[in-house]
Structure formats: structure tokens, C-alpha cells
Amino acid sequence: MEMSGQHRILAPRQTVWEALNDPEILKLAIPGCEEIEKTSDTAFTAKVKLKIGPVSAKFAGAVSLSDLDPPNGYTISGEGKGGAAGFAKGGAKVHLDEDGGATILRYEVQAQVGGKLAQIGSRLVDSTAKKMAEDFFGKFSAAVGAPEEAEAVPEAITEAPEVRGLSPMVWIVGLIAIVAVLLMIFAV
């Protein structure tokens, strides 16, 4: 599945950047996030426990960075394993841009769900993944401080002067959370 989106966060880019590095804020954005661990400069692991509908499962994930291109962004890829439930893996191209005093976060995700998740729950894969991404960024945006702006974001984005790159932690957790939410696709 492929999905893309963008969120306009009413906070300066530096604030967003710091928030993305703040485990406490990330834990607020991701229900069930139990731990995040940096294993190298470009690799991380995390654990998430989610309960959705009748489904409840623990996921362990690993994420690595590639195509580092400060300040424009990078590609991250990762995989989350959910035991008997299967796996999810994917990559995301991430951009963080200034927009006046706000920050625009754009993402293009390619994700693959495998094993029992894909086999039994195909009816809800797409909508669940979209919901997950939106939930995560909605909560994250709110947590960063300023009220979320609901209107659509203009397509034209002002040129970003400097971005050192987005913290991978958000993507570790984001990917794992997507994996975990995909679990709920099974229901009869």
C-alpha cells in the first residue's frame, strides 16, 4: 500500500524538531509505546503494545536510515514483527519544511503487510493505515504545543532554508504503530 500526506504544525521548525527528539512527546502521540532504543547513529529499535478492538498484540520493530540528504530529508526503512500476526515493513520519504512560523511535515510511505495480517484482514488494510498515520500526526501536532490547524495545506511549499533531517524516532514509532494498528483488521 502507498500513502502520502502532510501536516502543518503550528510551531517553528526548531520546536518540531526538538519535539521529534523528545521521547515523552512521542509516547504521548503513540499509545502503547513502551520503549525506544538507539542502537547506532542510523538504527533504532522500539516496542509497542496496542489494543484495538478484539486484537491486542506486542510489536518489536527496527528502523534504519538511508539516502541522508540534509536539509531536504531522507529515506527510512523498517520492519515490525508481530509474532503469529505477521509483519509489516516499509519505507518512507520524509520532508520537513518551514512555512512562515509553522512547519510542514510531508511524508510518502510505502508499506507492505505480510503473513496473517495480509491474508485475513485485507478488507481494512488501506483505511487502517491511513487512519494510523493521521492519528499519529494529529496527536503529535497537538502535543507539540499549538492547536492543530484543520484546513488543508497549500500545495506550494516555501523553500526550506535548512533542515538537518527529521528524527527517525518518529518513524520508528510511526511504522511500528501502523503495523500494530493493522492488526485490528481481523474481525468477524
Partner: protein, 265 residues
């Protein structure tokens, strides 16, 4: 399935006590969603609290202008109940179309709405008829009860005890089922009554059941299928899967809404 401790309380208090003493307890109505999930090892609750032996959760009564259905009432009982059939035939018909006869003999209204599957039928009935959900703690309007895909306003220690349906002047339900699972690809409940004119759609929305205000406005003028001509829902936020794209679902919402209004008579 992973093993668990099984409880079969006789009262709501006993159920709450079993739930609170469990490290990771799960309430079970008819089990028609939970058990298949457990069989696939997609959940591992420490305890399963079976609500089926709680007598206060069962039964269908007429109270004033409403039909009150106990949370533990199975779909077959709702479908076959004389009061429901005479006062809200659309609700009886909806219950008769859930799953298959064996699922209807076990699945319960309380379990269905607490699960809030985005393709389940009952959420459309509750929202489309302006029902009120009664729990061990409070009463919640259906509009506030369903908060998102598989999400409800229920607290962790809250148990649905009954659903109260105001008797409408007219109501109809039309469903386009998934041919394999028989879940709703699109299901529309349209009604006119004490809760106003309502059009509720299940199966199509990513966040579960939703109301279509444009259709409600059109029907408020004249409650007829013709009034819906030209009124459509955007495909943007609708579900897409193997069986139906978002665009097709959007189209079906229009078709099923007209059929629901026709069925309302």
C-alpha cells in the same frame, strides 16, 4: 488460541470484579468476533469474562415510545421479536441480515456495538434511529457512542447494558453485502421520527458509521427516494478494499439510501 482464565459471572458487579482483578481481561458477548480473533492468535487476554449468564442483560421490552433491547440479546431474538417487528420492522430486518443464522443465534447487540466494526450493521441502526446506549455507568446518545473504527466512548470498566430505540414514524435499512463475509460493503439506515430525520451509513466510512447531513436535509423536505436524487457523498474518506473501491462505495451509498427510504414506505 492462547489459554486464558474463563469467567462466567451472574451479575454486572461480578463481571466488573472479574475484569478488574485480571491483568488483561476481555469482555465477551456472543464471542462471534472475539473467538475467531483468539483462534488466529491475534490477542492473548489473561482472562475472558463471558457476559452471557447475566440475566439482567437480556430481554426486549417496550418502554414508553421506545424499544429497549438488553445488551445480551442475540440477533436472532431481535429479528424474531414481535415488538420489534411491529414497531421497528427495519430493525428486525437489519438483525435478520447479520452474518448467518448460527452467528445470529449467538452474536449479541451489546457485543456488536462495543466492537464497532466499521462494516457491522448495528451501528447504522443505532445512529440511524437515534438510539441511546445504556451502560452500567450512564446513558450515551448513539451519535456520541461510536467514536471511530473499532472505537467507542466506553471506558475500560464500562459495560453496555441495553440499547433504547425510539420508535420511528418510518425507517428502512438497505444493505449491499460483501458476498463472501456478508458484512456490509454499504448499509444505510434512513428514518424519520422522534430523533428527527436520520441517514446513517455503515461499511463505507473509514471511521465507521457516519451520518449524511445532505441526505437528511433533503429528506426533511420530503421523505422520499426522489428527494435524494443528485445528493451524493464524496469518495475521499471512504473505505477501499478488494471488494469495492471508495468511488463505488460512494455510489452505493446513494443507491442504498434510496432503497432504505423506499423500504421505509
Amino acid at each position: 488460541m492462547y489459554d486464558f482464565n474463563y469467567h462466567r459471572p451472574k451479575s454486572i458487579d461480578e463481571a466488573l470484579s472479574a475484569l478488574s482483578s485480571a491483568s488483561d481481561g476481555k469482555l465477551m458477548g456472543g464471542g462471534q468476533t472475539l473467538l475467531p480473533t483468539l483462534k488466529q492468535r491475534l490477542a492473548s487476554p489473561s482472562d475472558v469474562v463471558d457476559l452471557s449468564a447475566i440475566s439482567e442483560l437480556s430481554g426486549i421490552t417496550e418502554q414508553g415510545g421506545a424499544i429497549v433491547i438488553g445488551a445480551g440479546t442475540c440477533h436472532a431474538e431481535v429479528a424474531g421479536n414481535a415488538s420489534v417487528q411491529s414497531k421497528i420492522p427495519a430493525l428486525a430486518a437489519l438483525a435478520e441480515g447479520i452474518g448467518d443464522p448460527q452467528v445470529r443465534n449467538r452474536g449479541t447487540i451489546g457485543g456488536s456495538i462495543a466492537n464497532n466494526d466499521p462494516a457491522a450493521d448495528y451501528p447504522a441502526a443505532l445512529v440511524g434511529l437515534g438510539a441511546t446506549v445504556k451502560t452500567n455507568m450512564r446513558e450515551v446518545a448513539a451519535d456520541d457512542f461510536f467514536t471511530g473504527m473499532f472505537e467507542t466512548a466506553l471506558a475500560d470498566d464500562e459495560i453496555v447494558t441495553a440499547v433504547s430505540f425510539p420508535v420511528p414514524e418510518k425507517a428502512g435499512y438497505a444493505k449491499f453485502p460483501n458476498p463472501a463475509s456478508r458484512y456490509a460493503i454499504v448499509g444505510v439506515m434512513a428514518s424519520k421520527g422522534p430523533a428527527g430525520v436520520r441517514v446513517a451509513v455503515t461499511g463505507a466510512g473509514q471511521g465507521g458509521v457516519f451520518r449524511v447531513s445532505a441526505m437528511e436535509t433533503a429528506l426533511a423536505g420530503h421523505f422520499s427516494a426522489e428527494a435524494l436524487t443528485g445528493v451524493s457523498v464524496p469518495a475521499d474518506d471512504l473505505n477501499a478494499d478488494l471488494h469495492a473501491s471508495a468511488e463505488y462505495r460512494a455510489h452505493l451509498v446513494g443507491v442504498m439510501a434510496k432503497r432504505a427510504v423506499d423500504a421505509a414506505g
